[in-house]
């Protein structure tokens, strides 16, 4: 099961949301930072930049978590902040952002030749997809978000996300065949 939210992660989030303090935040940060750092690195950010952006995301979490109305949406809310931070960084550094906003994030995936992502089988498949397909599949299989969480992050209807995942898998199968694990 790739998309299970670990119960201890939920506990840490619940503790922070019910009693936001430096102590509960530290605990939350310890659990969440590796995922957020991984989010940026999987999209081609160098380690130093990924750390800076993660810090930026966590600062927003620290400041804004009290305003989160539906606590069940914490995870997609955090990933939406991460996604916006990455888009803002791409704009601020003058990198080309495609007209369709969804493309900007995906563009970041291949920004450095030396990046680990380029050497993975997963990246080979992703390179072949369209940007919006790629970002949905990455949120699903690298970031381990549930379908409804992806819908929240991208502001898409749930049915659209499921439809795209279904057809993207068929597209991959048509291009790369059915492989034995």
């Amino acid at each position: 099961m790739p998309c299970r939210v670990l119960s201890d992660e939920q506990d840490v989030v619940a503790r922070f949301l019910s009693k936001p303090s430096d102590e509960t935040f530290h605990e939350l940060f310890r659990g969440l930072a590796p995922r957020i750092l991984g989010y940026f690195r999987a999209r081609g950010c160098e380690l130093e930049l990924a750390e800076d952006l993660t810090q930026e995301v966590m600062l927003a979490v620290y400041k804004e978590a009290r305003s989160l109305r539906d606590k069940a949406l914490f995870r997609p809310w955090v990933y939406r902040i991460a996604r916006n931070a990455l888009l803002r960084h791409l704009r601020d550094t003058g990198r080309r952002v495609e007209t369709v906003e969804l493309g900007a994030e995906a563009e970041g995936l291949y920004q450095t030749d030396s990046d680990l992502t380029l050497r993975s089988q997963f990246a080979e498949w992703m390179a072949w997809l369209r940007p919006e397909e790629r970002q949905i599949m990455m949120l699903r299989y690298v970031d381990e978000l549930e379908h409804h969480e992806i819908a929240q992050v991208l502001g898409m209807p749930l049915g659209t996300v499921q439809w795209k995942i279904f057809h993207t898998k068929r597209k991959l199968a048509a291009r790369f065949g059915v492989k034995t694990s």
Binding site: E51, R140, R170
Partner: protein
Amino acid sequence: MGHDISEPEWLEYVSGAPPRALAQRIESHVAVCPECARLLDELANWHDLLTREGASLRHALQLPDARMEEFVDRAVERVCAAAHPRFRAGRGRTAAEGLFLMRSLLEPIFGSGTARIAMDLAASRCTIHPEGKLLGGEWPLFVRNLSETLASICGSAAGRLVNRAGTCLVAQGA
């Protein structure tokens, strides 16, 4: 998708946790429909491959534990400092910030005149520098002076309050 099975239902089935009724419906259908049996193979195969390779990429991007610990500690400190820009965490707080906080506590209780005079007297009996740190500086001496001064004016409870507040300002964040 035709054959009365929708895309979300196929996804739910291959993800591994379908409701019993859905599982039975799909299994009885693919048993008699080669086209859907092929589709199921294809979807299940790619679900497994993507799950495995996604996990592999995630693992490759992970930092070593020690490096991650170092990053977390450093980042938490920065985030908390940025979230409370006026005051740094207790141990890094300056004497000026400590004096401001102490006055903010004492004035509503003892009145602004008494609080100001007591603090001026206490400060005149030590060399406290506004930009100096509370920890390791003249702060403990200032707190003792202030405690004695206020105790002589307002009673021993006032002295104890000052001592506790002085210690808390060093030990805790704002």
